[in-house]
Symmetry: C2
Subunit: 295 residues, 2 copies
């Protein structure tokens, strides 16, 4: 049987070639990792629980990639640059190949974003992967949820509902679906976050559903919104506005900064709450995913 | 039934009065927390899994305190000052009082070390609490495992085996035991770490057992040790050298820095491996806890 220390060996050097450029001066093998950069550190933790955040039969490689990707999405939402990640793995699997594939997934995302695995923990128990991400602002600014102002355009960058469709197709064993990777390998929008970090007035990632997450922006900013349902790019139907797992960003910008690559879905208003309009007869309500009510 | 957002409300403001002194410029309620200090950041993650790191019937208050304490012990081992912590909770309990008590435990340790809860995540699933800690060096130095030198004294600061005894007594429902809190509420040795941060040549916390963790120091430092088993302060018997969960520090110091409050248990040698000596006939081998072989 594989030992804990052999397992640790699989993960110890992932992305270590990126340590220097990211100010990682001490990485796995000590009690703590050390990040030494003359910049503020932004950080977040995200858990990926088996059969909640991914199906138990998802490939280990994708579980690894996805668990880091969803955490990096929070760095993207702050308009920041990723610098490293830590991983805490709880798993009762005894199959070394499964861990090798998991490590491969971590390695893929490490190379994609040029960051290293800087620390972690491994324990036997029900499958649960917690990823901590660390980043720094690209400029002096980081994006928050609280800056949306009356008249700002509300934007997203991609059709919503893609991940929901991907999960449905995976569950039906439709492995040719073009949506699979939207669920299994979501792309954290780091480049988009960087691009808008100079001028967006607020930002959030829409992992809990577009409307639920937009609502967080509106509440934090003490404003409301007019949402034009017909303008929202959807995958299956208008209920995609409440679909989770799309790791796109929803952000508000001054109208002067609008550009073709953004989808404008509405405008910020002084009146609180969300007013929906549609010429197609669309009708929706806000239904974010609640882990304790929906589970 | 309680909602995820009501639960988050229980944890959102824990220790927020300590944000400013610790450079926490953005705490729960955004996609990331932000730590802005002109110092390197040391960080570590530790998972506390039900029935592995604590018994399922442990009081929620103690589970909360303990899960943060064991993570802070890694900050202590680096000789650093704690600045904040994040918590990722996976739990299927529906009882709001349980969460209130858990929050109380977080609150206790937050006040004890003057740090705030800066971020987190909450999901329904098998009980698993992951705590990320953030700290900074007290001076320009942080302690590592790799600096032990021939002739250094090897020290600990407290009798070992206390936590093992505490867990045994808890399991036997011997709730009057003076050892209970050694298991349920271990004290991270932040003050000790600060004290030795100027002169210790290496340091580690001994959560996996004194000998197993000392071995990490010796391997990282490419040295060996003579250990005087009779000099090790024990609680039950000499097998306490392999007992886990004692969140004391094991450290090496130049002989000139020895003082009464340290227990000297041996000396660093050029020859690799550990040589044990005892006039009492003690005989031991190294048996660290392996989550995959022992579980």
């Amino acid at each position: 049987m594989i030992s804990e220390f052999e397992l640790i060996g699989l993960f110890n050097h992932i992305g270590s070639k990126y340590n220097e450029q990211n100010g990682i001066v001490l990485s796995p093998g000590d009690d703590c990792a050390v990040i030494d950069l003359p910049l503020p550190i932004v950080t977040s933790i995200d858990s990926s629980v088996c059969d909640i955040h991914f199906p138990h039969n998802a490939p280990a490689k994708d579980i690894g990639y996805r668990s880091v990707a969803v955490a990096l999405s929070d760095i993207a939402a702050m308009g920041c640059q990723p610098r490293g990640f830590s991983v805490s793995i709880t798993c009762s699997n005894k199959d070394v190949i499964w861990y090798q594939e998991l490590a491969e997934g971590f390695n893929d995302i490490s190379n994609e974003f040029q960051i290293s695995l800087i620390g972690g923990d491994i324990t036997s128990g029900p499958l649960n992967i917690n990823v901590v991400v660390y980043g720094t602002p690209y400029n002096s600014n980081f994006l928050k949820r609280s800056g949306a102002r009356k008249g700002d355009f509300i934007c997203i960058s991609k059709p919503i509902g893609r991940a929901k469709k991907g999960l449905e197709d995976f569950t039906k064993n439709n492995l040719e679906s073009i949506f699979l990777n939207d669920y299994l390998r979501p792309k954290p929008q780091i480049e988009l976050g960087k691009k808008i970090s100079d001028f967006a007035t607020s930002c959030i990632d829409i992992s809990d559903g577009l409307l639920a997450d937009l609502n967080h922006i509106l509440r934090s900013s003490k404003v409301g919104a007019n949402i034009f349902l017909d303008d929202i790019p959807i995958t299956s139907n208008i209920n995609d506005v409440n679909a989770g797992d799309d790791y796109d960003l929803c952000f508000t910008i001054p109208s002067t900064m609008m550009e073709d690559s953004f989808y404008k879905i509405g405008e910020v208003t002084e009146d609180l709450g969300i007013k929906f309009s549609s010429n197609k007869g669309y009708d929706v309500s806000i239904k974010g995913f609640d882990h304790f009510k929906n589970a």
